[in-house]
């Protein structure tokens, strides 16, 4: 496996854009990434495109076709929330193994609004699935409400601590002009927002957003043709599924994520202490705390404590979700994993403006989703 360089990044603002099609949104991110990389579209040898909610076949060809027709292989992939990070891992593998010298990973989404119902369409017949849905079981925030209750009993975490996650991430998003929601809010605002499923309130859930983000990866030799200053190296790119099933999976601690993180640390030859900045999967406030533990930022049960101590804020020991995370930057499902890459790269280059984490050299991006599946990517400057 050879060294892989992150040559360019691009993003469209996150939000809702009734006047733009998914093609418009995707093209913006790709053109920005090409410009940032200083590479021409004709030099891209393969593209990995991800999207979650659209049902149009070959969407990648439609989006890329409005930029150019160069005959390159285009794969339209999906992996629930880790869709875009899966595209990144695919592009990384293709360059690392020598299949291609320059590859594009891009995710774009026009998400439907409202509460998401997980479509668990495997091994069930239609009648049973409809019966489940009619009973109102199949609502994602419900799973996290269960997790919160359990953690409150087991670890003594409080609703204020959960709310604090949303407050912190919004504070970060306030400094990110690309974020979906940028107005600062207080713990009271979070707790008093509409109750979704007790104790989850509206502002403890990520919005359903639209957006697109892109990354261009290449071999080190190729990178030197386009840039002379420093490069960000992809130190690891891991995509995993679980090795064992437990009914509590994803409830209080997700073993899968820990396994993916450990593998990524191993691959990079680094430990959690070496990481300066983290982007992690926070669709709900409880998820952020759970993942502190999965990524070994603290022991199991200590997550609420390190949050309260301010360790994971900008200015703290290990800032988490400096762009606002899913909670405030937003969750355009098919693109989120690549927004994480964009933020990490801006931070590692020292281009993150007001939300810059001083001296950040190593960044980690983590996503988890239905399947289940998880990705952990480590970037190193």
């Amino acid at each position: 496996m050879r060294e892989v360089v992150l040559l360019g990044i691009g993003q469209h603002k996150v939000g809702r854009f009734p006047d733009e099609t998914i093609t418009d949104i995707g093209r913006t991110a790709i053109l920005e990434a090409l410009k940032d990389a200083g590479i021409e579209y004709k030099d891209i040898q393969a593209a990995y495109f991800t999207n979650r909610d659209e049902r149009t076949p070959c969407l990648g060809q439609h989006v890329l076709g409005t930029i150019g027709l160069t005959g390159i292989p285009i794969i339209n992939a999906e992996n629930a929330s880790p869709s875009a990070s899966t595209a990144f891992v695919m592009a990384y593998d293709a360059v690392a193994t020598g299949q291609y010298d320059a590859a594009l990973a891009v995710g774009a989404e026009k998400t439907a609004r409202g509460l998401r119902v997980p479509v668990v369409g495997v091994g069930v017949n239609i009648n049973r699935m409809m019966a489940m849905a009619k009973q109102g079981f199949a609502v994602i925030p419900g799973m996290f409400a269960l997790a919160m209750r359990r953690r409150m009993k087991d670890f003594g975490e409080t609703v204020e601590q959960f709310a604090q996650v949303a407050v912190k991430n919004r504070k970060h998003a306030h400094l990110n002009p690309y974020a979906h929601y940028q107005d600062v809010m207080t713990i009271e605002d979070v707790l008093n927002s509409r109750l979704i499923c007790d104790p989850v309130t509206l502002f403890q859930c990520c919005p359903t957003s639209e957006g697109a983000a892109a990354a261009i990866l290449c071999s080190k030799d190729v990178a030197k043709r386009y840039k002379s200053d420093g490069f960000t190296i992809v130190a690891s790119g891991v995509l995993n599924t679980p090795v064992s099933w437990s009914p509590a999976l994803g409830i209080t601690t997700a073993g899968l994520d820990k396994m993916a993180a450990d593998e990524a640390y191993n691959m990079a030859g680094l430990g959690p202490k070496d990481v300066d900045i983290i982007e992690l999967h926070d669709p709900f406030t409880a998820s952020e705390l759970i993942h502190y533990e999965d990524l070994s930022l603290c022991e199991v049960g200590e997550a609420g404590k390190i949050l309260s101590e301010g360790k994971t804020e900008i200015g703290g020991e290990i800032p988490v979700n400096t762009d606002g995370g899913l909670l405030s930057r937003g969750h355009p499902i098919g693109a989120t994993g690549l927004y994480q890459i964009v933020e990490l790269e801006l931070q590692l280059r020292g281009q993150a403006g007001q939300r810059q984490v001083e001296g950040a050299k190593v960044g980690l991006g983590h996503m988890e989703g239905l399947g289940p599946c998880a990705t952990v990517i480590i970037l190193k400057r």
Partner: protein
């Protein structure tokens, strides 16, 4: 015939004449760099990758590249059955998928001259679209 107040099936596909005697035109885009013409409009030229396109009005005459008579009603369509559609090659380059009108199905021929008209899809609805009809000899 097009009257005041009719609404186009989609924005930016064709011009609606405002003066008597004026012809409708399809709206395409032309690459300032390599000259390639697209319909409908594109933002980036997919031949030379330049983001340098200008709007251009296309000829309202072309040649019928191929045609078919559709016998099974597709979803989203509410006009009369059966009906004719074809591909029309324009002198600027693009080949355009279009409904055919003002024709006897039996008399359609490949490569015949056809011209652009605006017409309703359904009589009761005010939505108009572009169609091509054989040029009267």
């Amino acid at each position: 015939m097009v009257e005041q107040g009719m609404k186009p099936i989609a924005e930016g596909l064709f011009t609606i004449p405002s003066l008597p005697g004026e012809q409708p035109r399809l709206i395409g885009s032309k690459c300032r760099n390599c000259g390639r013409v697209y319909f409908p409009k594109e933002v980036v030229c997919n031949a030379c990758f330049q983001e340098d396109m200008e709007e251009t009005l296309l000829s309202n005459r072309g040649k019928l590249y191929s045609f078919t008579i559709i016998h099974q009603k597709p979803m989203a369509y509410s006009g009369p059955m059966p009906y004719a559609m074809g591909l029309v090659s324009l002198p600027e380059g693009p080949t355009i998928m279009s409904l055919l009108t003002g024709c006897d199905f039996e008399k359609l021929e490949l490569d015949m001259d056809v011209e652009l008209v605006l017409e309703k899809i359904v009589e009761e609805d005010e939505t108009v679209t572009y169609k091509f009809r054989p040029v009267q000899a």
